[in-house]
Structure formats: structure tokens, C-alpha cells
């Protein structure tokens, strides 16, 4: 049975929206005949490894995710038509260099792409988010892109450019304004304030940070711009195709700093990547459409139900506190499934224990709440005075006289 490669769907005129996925598709397209593999457009929630690209090899019953792992698997368990002219590498130096540059791309170019397409609010809203909405089946765009943005932002966090994410800034300003209003400060209505008056106020965050951004891009591009990629292995060439073709994406992107820097100063690299793309996917701009794409729906019956299950998980992840636990539990469960499917013996599952514990907790809390409800409310009267029964005492002065008479009797 053919290998199945689960990847993010196409966007920006590229076969995938993710650099690793483009690299994996390119490698398969260059080394393996179309009969031996299928490309399935998917999302991380559909695969047990929670990460794309993911390769499912039915012959070894394994799930492998990540570009280098897929490469390693294809080289150690080659499909029948597999042919990579650079494997094994001609010299150890080429092997070592290829590995080093591939690692460099995945470690240092990914944060740049994250800044460019994910952290920057304008680019995210105008191009990346719509692209995800196009490639994900219907209820999933509600949950998955937001989580992906979180993950990608975390990968670019060490570069210290979170100010590109103006959503956070705007939210903070709104909160401050609301707090000022509540505290009773006089606020000037927006219609009466003047527009931006200084150059700094007119500039976008990307323009303000342009020098720093160019410097960050230069750090990475100086290294990969000088490499003779044609001499390296196929794996390294596919990697540079994947990462750099995303770095030079500019159609529909409002703030194109990364594409501009790359195209202006590293023409050799861009030319190489363009050539490599034509060579891999055919001459046309959308040559990758002729690759063996398979619809996700025909693979799994009841796709609609599965989509809603995936949506349910996505919603659960967003619940504060519970989401974290849920994510961990689900990942652990999927991992056990994969290992069992592969035939690896597993220790006893702790799910029952967890559910028993949860049940006991819920029962205890329910009982506590019920007991609480039966208690009198705070401020409720503990003593009650009822109106005395009307006896002769209720008849005014005469009654008092009469009752004292009765008492004496």
C-alpha cells in the first residue's frame, strides 16, 4: 500500500502553507514515483503525532512526523521506486554540511517565517488567516489557526519582536481607556481628538522595526545565501526550497519586509529556489497540482463526524486550566494508540484511574453543593417570632385587666 503523507494544504501558490511540508512534498516528488505515495491535505488534529508533515507507512505500521524524521524513514525503509541520487551522500563532508544547513534552516528560518506570516497582525489578518480558512474544512477554521498562531509566536518569542502583533497592543489600549473611564477620568471622545500627528504614530510596527527586522533576516540569509546548494544532498535542497519559498511569498501580503530583503539582496538564492521549484513541480506556476493528491474525505468514512470531534478537541484546548490537562491526556492517548498499532507493548492505561478520580471529585463536589443548598442562607432568621394567639390579652386595657384576673386565679 502506498505511503500517505499528511500535509497542510496549498496556499500562496505553493503546494503547502508550511515550510516543512513543502520540503517533504518536494523530496517525495523528486525521489519516488507517483504510484508509491499519496498526499493528503489535512491538519495536525487529524494525525496522532499532532504535527505536520506526518508520514504514515502502512508496511511498517508507523507514523513519523517532522521533515528530518521523514527523510530518515524514507532512506531506511525505501518504497520500491525510491531513488535518491545523493543517497548515500558522495562524501562525508557533503553529508555533514547538508545536515548542518538543514538544521540551521529549521532552527533559524522558522522564527523568521513566524514573524513574517504569523506574529505580524496585518499579514496574519490579510493573508495567512484567510489562507488557512481556505485549506481547512468547515468547522475547523474556528479553532485551529488560532492555536497554530500561538505555537508559531512561541517559536519567534526569543527574537523579541512581539510588538508586530498589534492586536495585543490595541487590546491593552482599549482596556486602559475603559479603566480610565471607570475611574472617572475625563475622556475625550474619539471624534474630537486629532489624528496621528507625528511620524512615529503614522508608521506601522513593521516600518518602525524595519532595521531590526532586516538585521534579523540578514543573520539567517547571510548563512544560507552563500551555500552552494547544488552540491549538497537532495534533502538539503528540498529544505531550502521549502523554507525560502515561504520567505519570498509576497502575493497578497501587505507588509512584505522579508520578501523584499530576500529578493533584493540574495538574488542568487532566490534564483536557485525558483529553478528548484520548476525542476521539482514542473514548469507551470501550479505544477504541484499534478502530484497524487487524495481527498481526506475518501480516506476516512464519516469525515463530518470526525471533523466535529476535532473541533470539539480544539474547543476543549481553549478552556482555561482544563484545556492544558485535556491536551496532555489526548496526546498521551493518541501516542499509546500509535504504539499499540505498531505492536509495542504498553503498560496498563491510567485512564480508568483518572476517570474514577474525576468521578469521585465530581460526586464529592455535588454532595457538598447539595449540602450547602440545604443550609439556611446567610442572613436568614434563625429565630422566629410568631404573632401571639389572640386571647383575652388582645382586647386592650380591658383584656389586660381580665388576663391579670385570670393569672391570679
Amino acid at each position: 500500500m502506498a505511503l500517505q503523507l499528511y500535509v497542510w494544504g496549498p496556499a500562496f501558490g505553493l503546494p503547502s502553507i508550511d515550510a516543512e511540508c513543502i520540503a517533504a512534498i518536494a523530496y517525495l516528488a523528486q525521489t519516488t514515483s507517483k504510484a508509491d505515495y499519496q498526499l493528503i491535505q489535512s491538519s495536525p488534529s487529524a494525525v496522532p503525532t499532532h504535527h505536520l508533515p506526518a508520514l504514515h507507512d502502512p508496511s511498517t505500521r508507523t507514523w513519523i512526523s517532522g521533515y528530518t524524521s521523514i527523510l530518515r524513514h524514507l532512506q531506511t525503509h525505501p518504497p520500491p521506486s525510491f531513488h535518491d541520487a545523493t543517497f548515500p551522500p558522495p562524501t562525508p563532508t557533503i553529508q555533514a554540511d547538508s545536515k548542518a544547513y538543514t538544521t540551521f534552516l529549521s532552527a533559524n528560518a522558522t522564527p523568521l517565517i513566524a514573524l513574517y506570516l504569523y506574529v505580524s497582525s496585518a499579514n496574519w489578518a490579510a493573508s495567512t488567516r484567510p489562507a488557512y480558512s481556505k485549506i481547512l474544512p468547515m468547522p475547523l477554521p474556528w479553532t485551529e489557526p488560532a492555536q497554530l498562531r500561538q505555537t508559531m509566536s512561541a517559536r519567534a518569542e526569543h527574537l523579541g519582536m512581539s510588538s508586530l502583533d498589534t492586536d495585543v497592543e490595541t487590546e491593552k489600549e482599549e482596556q486602559e481607556a475603559a479603566a480610565a473611564r471607570r475611574a472617572g477620568w475625563i475622556s475625550i471622545p474619539a471624534s474630537l481628538t486629532r489624528g496621528p500627528s507625528t511620524v512615529g504614530e503614522v508608521m506601522t510596527p513593521e516600518e518602525k522595526r524595519r532595521i531590526k527586522l532586516e538585521w534579523l533576516a540578514k543573520d539567517v540569509l547571510d548563512v544560507i545565501g552563500e551555500v552552494e546548494w547544488a552540491k549538497l544532498t537532495m534533502g538539503a535542497r528540498c529544505a531550502v526550497l521549502g523554507w525560502v519559498s515561504l520567505m519570498i511569498v509576497d502575493e497578497g501580503v501587505p507588509r512584505r519586509w522579508l520578501a523584499e530583503v530576500t529578493r533584493q539582496k540574495y538574488t542568487g538564492l532566490v534564483e536557485f529556489v525558483e529553478d528548484c521549484r520548476r525542476e521539482t513541480f514542473g514548469p507551470g506556476p501550479r505544477g504541484w497540482e499534478s502530484l497524487p493528491w487524495v481527498d481526506e474525505g475518501t480516506e476516512a468514512h464519516g469525515l463530518g463526524l470526525k471533523l466535529y470531534q476535532r473541533l470539539g478537541h480544539g474547543v476543549m484546548y481553549e478552556v482555561p486550566w482544563i484545556g492544558e490537562v485535556w491536551r496532555r491526556w489526548w496526546a498521551e492517548k493518541r501516542r499509546r494508540q500509535v504504539l499499540e498499532y505498531k505492536g509495542v507493548k504498553q503498560g496498563p492505561s491510567r485512564d480508568r484511574l483518572v476517570f474514577a478520580g474525576l468521578g469521585i471529585t465530581v460526586l464529592t463536589m455535588g454532595a457538598a453543593i447539595w449540602y450547602w443548598q440545604t443550609l439556611p442562607r446567610f442572613g436568614a432568621l434563625v429565630q422566629r417570632w410568631d404573632q401571639p394567639i389572640h386571647a383575652v390579652g388582645g382586647l386592650g386595657a380591658a383584656g389586660a385587666f381580665l388576663s391579670s384576673m385570670f393569672d391570679e386565679l
Binding site: H50, S69, A96, D97, K99, A100, T103, F104, A107, A331
Partner: protein
């Protein structure tokens, strides 16, 4: 005009009269417990000059005098005067020697730091090795991230007589070049940048081994938890936090959501990636004629950076459960380049006097 008799006996600046024309007596009080010589002059109105005391230097007789035998007994005390308690060992070195030597704050134990033994943390070991390789004398002191101005160890504190400003680890190469009269470090070549990124898979595998492998929990406790707390409850909490932080770092490095938990980590792939990285580094080392990376005459920052990981791995994780030790030994097709290189650096930096054996006992 009749001047009072005291005018002639007192210097005029000390002579005061109150508003009824009486002469004021001046008393000078010295404020106790202050080193300054400030004196307070207080004027008290007295009509008569003070009588000269009969016994000027004798204390005034107290109301109930102590009986002589009792006084004799009390005079025996204290029987023994103890020596002042010495300062803690580490502060003794710091106070005596840190006037002339810089101090590197690292993750270590009190005893190891006193002897300048290798740190147990890869980043700390990197800078410690670099300083030792460049023969800059320095002291080491055990510390924690909370003590660091940058939030992470190591940092270098120059001699107290020179400057009070700590030097973050990134500025240590500059410090070395200033203090050894060597040329300032050259900007790194693109190729070395690329090879430097190979430390990323090595780091992920290292985190997986030390923090997320149950077999290494005792080592983790010894390294990071025991120096911080003696309470078992706090230790457990600290260990959980450390493991959670490590797992989210590994997940982030793999491109997964950082809260996926250990279920998302495929440790086989981590070790396979680390093995490929070590292989590539061993191949790079084979190319070099000098025995150091990139054909340098003497080991530099790149060597120190890799030694940070390899040193800790070979000293503490070269056990059957620790797969990284085996990976280092087998790197580059079993030629033992990395092991040979590791021993060379150890000799170069620690003089081969067995200081780095400390971790193996």
C-alpha cells in the same frame, strides 16, 4: 559695667546668659554609638556654678552595693571566650580573593565550586571552559538563576575593586580578549553558524535525557533540586516544574504546541536527530588538521559550546541507560573523534589532573 566673675574664667564663646540674666552652665554630651564627633551642647540654667567633685574619677556609690564575695564570683565570668564563628566556606574565598579575581556564578555544588570543578549545566560549562582555555584566572561560585541580572546563569562578576557591574555570558569573549591581550574574537563564519545550529538537536536530546527520563531523576535531583531545597515537598514541586519546562522546551523545538505534554514527544526521533548531529560534528572534526574545529590553532568558542554538552554527557550520562554517551562514542562511524577531542579539551582546560572526574564517583 560689672561683668560676672565667670567671664574671666570661661572663654567668651561658651558664656551664655538666659533671659533672666543668669549665667548658663554648658554641658557637652557625646552621642553614644556613633563614630562621628558630633557633640550636642545643651544649656541648663543653673544659678550656681558646679561644685568640684570630691572624687572626680570614681563612680557614684550605688544604692545597694554588691557584696564583695559575690563581686569576686561575678568577676570570674565569662569563663571562656569563644572565637568568632567563621564565615561560610564560599564567602571566605569570595571575601579574600574576589578583590583581585573575577567570579563566575554557575550551577554547581558548594564543594565543587570551591575547587573550580566543571559545572553540571551545559551553558555554564561552556563559558567556564572558555575562560579556562584562555587562562584567565577566576573563581567559581554556586548560584541560581534568581541571582542573575539577566535571569540565567552564568554571569561573571569582575573583581570588586574594579567594577561592580556583572558581565552577562554573551560578553565574556570580549572580557577574555581584553584581559589576555589577544585579538578580539572574529565574527563567526557562515559555515560555523550552520554547524552551531547542530547543538539544537543535541540540546533537545539532552533535555529529554536529563529531565524526562525516569532513570535520570536521581541525577536531576542531585544537580538542581538538592542544592535548592531540603524539603521533600518543595523538591517534588520543583522537579515537576523543571520537567514541565523541559517538556515544553522540547515540544517547542519540535514545532508542537508547548502544552502537548510528553505524549507528543517521540524520543526515538530526538535521539536519531542527535546522533546525526554528532555524526556531522565528528566529520567536521575529521576534516580539521589541528584537532580543533575549523582548523583553529587553539580551541575556541565553538569547541567550548560543544564541550558544554559533551562534557556533561561524558561525565554523568555515559551509563547504559544514557543513550547520549553511546552516541558520542559512536559518532562519525566509531572513529572516536569526539571522544578524543573531549579528552584533549579536558586536558587543555583542566590540566588532566582529574578535576573533571569529580562527577563520576
Amino acid at each position: 559695667m560689672q561683668l560676672p566673675a565667670a567671664f574671666w574664667t570661661h572663654p567668651p564663646e561658651l558664656l551664655h546668659f538666659d533671659r533672666w540674666g543668669r549665667r548658663c552652665q554648658h554641658r557637652i554630651f557625646r552621642i553614644p554609638y556613633t563614630s562621628s564627633t558630633a557633640t550636642v551642647t545643651m544649656a541648663s540654667a543653673t544659678a550656681t556654678p558646679p561644685k568640684p567633685s570630691a572624687r572626680p574619677n570614681q563612680p557614684a556609690p550605688s544604692l545597694w552595693p554588691i557584696p564583695a564575695p559575690l563581686q569576686k564570683l561575678f568577676n570570674q565570668f565569662p569563663l571562656v571566650t569563644l572565637d568568632p564563628t567563621p564565615l561560610p566556606v564560599r564567602s571566605q574565598t569570595l571575601t579574600s580573593a574576589s578583590d583581585t579575581l573575577p567570579t563566575l556564578y554557575i550551577f554547581s555544588s558548594d564543594e565543587d565550586a570551591l575547587e573550580g570543578k566543571p559545572s553540571i549545566n551545559p551553558t555554564c560549562l561552556k563559558w567556564q571552559t572558555l575562560l579556562r582555555l584562555s587562562h584567565v584566572p577566576f573563581l567559581t561560585s554556586p548560584s541560581s538563576n534568581h541571582a542573575s541580572p539577566t535571569g540565567s546563569l552564568p554571569f561573571l562578576l569582575p573583581p570588586r575593586t574594579v567594577s561592580p557591574n556583572p558581565i552577562p555570558s554573551t560578553s565574556i569573549p570580549l572580557y577574555i580578549s581584553r584581559h589576555t591581550n589577544s585579538p578580539s574574537p572574529l565574527p563567526t563564519s557562515p559555515r560555523s553558524e550552520a554547524y552551531l545550529s547542530l547543538l539544537t538537536p543535541l540540546r533537545l536530546a539532552f533535555l529529554q535525557t536529563l529531565y524526562l527520563t525516569p532513570a535520570f531523576t536521581p541525577l536531576l535531583k542531585k544537580f538542581y533540586i538538592d542544592p535548592s531545597t531540603r524539603s521533600s515537598l518543595l523538591g517534588t514541586i520543583l522537579q515537576t516544574q523543571l520537567s514541565a519546562a523541559a517538556s515544553s522546551a522540547v515540544l517547542q523545538g519540535l514545532g508542537l504546541h508547548s502544552q502537548t505534554g510528553t505524549g507528543g514527544i517521540d524520543s526515538e526521533n530526538l535521539y536519531a536527530d542527535a546522533a546525526e548531529a554528532l555524526d556531522s560534528l565528528a566529520i567536521l572534526l575529521q576534516e580539521s588538521q589541528t584537532g580543533w574545529f575549523f582548523g583553529e590553532e587553539k580551541p575556541g568558542e565553538f569547541d567550548a559550546g560543544l564541550y558544554g554538552y559533551v562534557g556533561v554527557i561524558m561525565a554523568h550520562m555515559d551509563t547504559p541507560e544514557g543513550r547520549l554517551g553511546g552516541l558520542v562514542r559512536r559518532a562519525g562511524g566509531g572513529g572516536g573523534e569526539l571522544v578524543g577531542w573531549w579528552e584533549r579539551i579536558r586536558r587543555e582546560a583542566w590540566g588532566g589532573d582529574g578535576l573533571s572526574e569529580g562527577g563520576q564517583k
